[in-house]
């Protein structure tokens, strides 16, 4: 029935409230994250049925490394465990045609977790029904700095190539290459966008942060210019299909305005 109206192509989630859920339910610390993982699988299933093509989830921010070492280790182990489970082709992700991507500064992860993430990405690379981007060791500001770094590295490589070529020919080309540095250091917006972690994925239509918090906490700040921001008060592990349906209904009411704004840019 929802499909009678526009269905968002890309929904992003800040999965907030796992620890509060664990405290409320008197669970062991860390158990909230495990329940949160199942909530993510459930949301993935609903999105698959609704025809959403891209799903992005904020699993672990760079700031979260400041948490107690036991909690960080628990989350890393959980990530590693779940990434390794994906290598089994009978995993539900294959049934839904989910391609998994781990987005962020993966060098900050410990080696076993990083390797598990890379293997999971490789294993699901051919799936094409829905793309699930899991942001770990991520922050928008880090993403922007990384993109700028990559653009500058490219420019440096180009200049070094030019200089090397010049050494083998005449001086004039070398002088031109050096003079070209001023022109060449100008970075266009498209250069930065091409190197963002989420390049190639359309910007999210909806960004949901559970637990009623109204800030974005350094998540997708670049990609949410025309994004409908939603802050339901439910904690992430308690996120239900009804909450999702209500959010999409709300989005459908706002969609024509957001579409108009997108076309004006």
């Amino acid at each position: 029935m929802l499909a009678e109206g526009p269905i968002p192509v890309h929904i992003a989630f800040i999965m907030d409230g796992n620890r509060r859920f664990a405290r409320k339910q008197n669970l062991k610390e860390g158990a909230g994250h495990k329940v949160g993982f199942f909530a993510l699988l459930a949301v993935l299933k609903y999105c698959n049925e609704l025809g959403v093509k891209f799903l992005t989830a904020y699993a672990f921010s760079i700031d979260n490394f400041k948490r107690r070492p036991e909690e960080v280790q628990y989350v890393m182990s959980l990530l590693e465990e779940k990434a390794n489970e994906i290598l089994n082709e009978e995993h539900i992700l294959y049934q839904y045609g989910v391609r998994v991507r781990f987005i962020g500064n993966l060098k900050l992860l410990n080696e076993p977790t990083r390797i598990a993430a890379e293997k999971a990405m490789e294993a699901t690379a051919k799936n094409d029904k829905i793309v699930l981007s899991i942001c770990v060791a991520y922050s928008s500001t880090d993403e922007i700095v990384h993109a700028v770094q990559e653009v500058c590295n490219d420019k440096r490589s180009n200049i070094q190539t030019l200089a090397l070529a010049a050494d083998n020919t005449t001086n004039e080309i070398y002088v031109d290459a050096r003079e070209g540095i001023d022109r060449d250091s100008t970075i266009k917006l498209a250069d930065v966008e091409r190197h963002m972690y989420l390049a190639g994925i359309p910007d999210p239509d909806i960004l949901v942060r559970t637990s009623g918090e109204t800030r974005l906490s350094n998540f997708l700040l670049w990609q949410t210019t025309h994004c409908f921001l939603h802050s339901p008060s439910v904690l992430w592990p308690s996120f239900t299909l009804w909450t999702l349906i209500w959010i999409i209904l709300d989005y459908q009411r706002a969609q024509s305005y957001l579409d108009k704004k997108k076309k004006l840019i």
Binding site: S140, D142, V148, R156, D184, I187, H230, Y257
Partner: protein, 234 residues
């Protein structure tokens, strides 16, 4: 048939939001009248900087914008950043400053820290060109220095940090504080391209269209903001 059900559900949603809006409007009037005790003493200590995002079409209503700024000034908000996507507010800067008169200093970019009187209000005007394009400008600044250094010293690649980026933004006149609270006046809760670098931990509250702005709603938003506890990821 499904289409009819969909239309019906949307009609129910419309009615629900109409009821909610009416309740919020009544609540705003009660707050403004001072009848609700919990809103009479407003704690502004955490609110160092406030940002206002206005839908550009609504930003042409300068009279309302000025009224909003006067309300904020009366409440005691000192430092305000005004944003709209298309730069309508930037173009109306002169009129707004004249109308606000002696209430404030107008400061932009690198002059922000020249305001020596903490009791004076400051106003900043930004638009989408200060957002992503601003990052590209700062990136060009960083890149030029990086390439100059690399060419002359044959050193290994420099690694940029967030601090480098922050300083580059200041160098190109696009530094500026991170607002603690961002109020969105428009049809939808959407930040419409507010500069990403300045919005990391900003609380974002939707206030509805500018034409139905309410003084009580601002008090409520600031009061709620004062109760928020942020753990910054820890």
């Amino acid at each position: 048939m499904l289409r009819l059900v969909w239309l019906f559900i949307h009609l129910l949603a419309k009615i629900w939001y109409f009821v909610l809006t009416t309740i919020h409007t009544l609540n705003s009037y009660l707050i403004s009248s001072g009848l609700l005790n919990k809103y009479t003493a407003l704690d502004l200590t955490k609110l160092q900087h406030l940002a206002i995002v206005i839908e550009s079409q609504e930003a042409y209503d300068i009279v309302r914008v000025i009224k909003l700024l006067c309300w904020l000034s009366d409440i005691g908000v000192k430092h305000i950043c005004l944003y709209d996507m298309d730069g309508v507010l930037k173009k109306s800067k002169k009129i707004i400053l004249e109308e606000m008169g002696s209430r404030l200093w107008h400061l932009e970019g690198d002059k922000m820290d020249l305001c020596l009187d903490p009791n004076q209000m400051t106003l900043e005007f930004i638009s989408i060109s200060d957002g992503k394009e601003g990052i590209a400008k700062a990136a060009s600044f960083l890149c030029k220095r990086y390439l100059d250094v690399s060419a002359s010293e044959e050193q290994d690649k420099t690694t940029f940090t967030e601090e480098n980026m922050g300083k580059a933004l200041e160098a190109v006149g696009l530094g500026g504080p991170q607002p603690n609270l961002l109020l969105v006046y428009g049809p939808v809760r959407c930040h419409l391209g507010f500069p990403a670098w300045r919005m990391r931990y900003t609380e974002i509250v939707h206030m509805g269209p500018l034409k139905s702005m309410k003084h009580g709603a601002i008090i409520k938003a600031i009061h709620k903001f004062a109760m928020v506890h942020q753990n910054y990821g820890t």
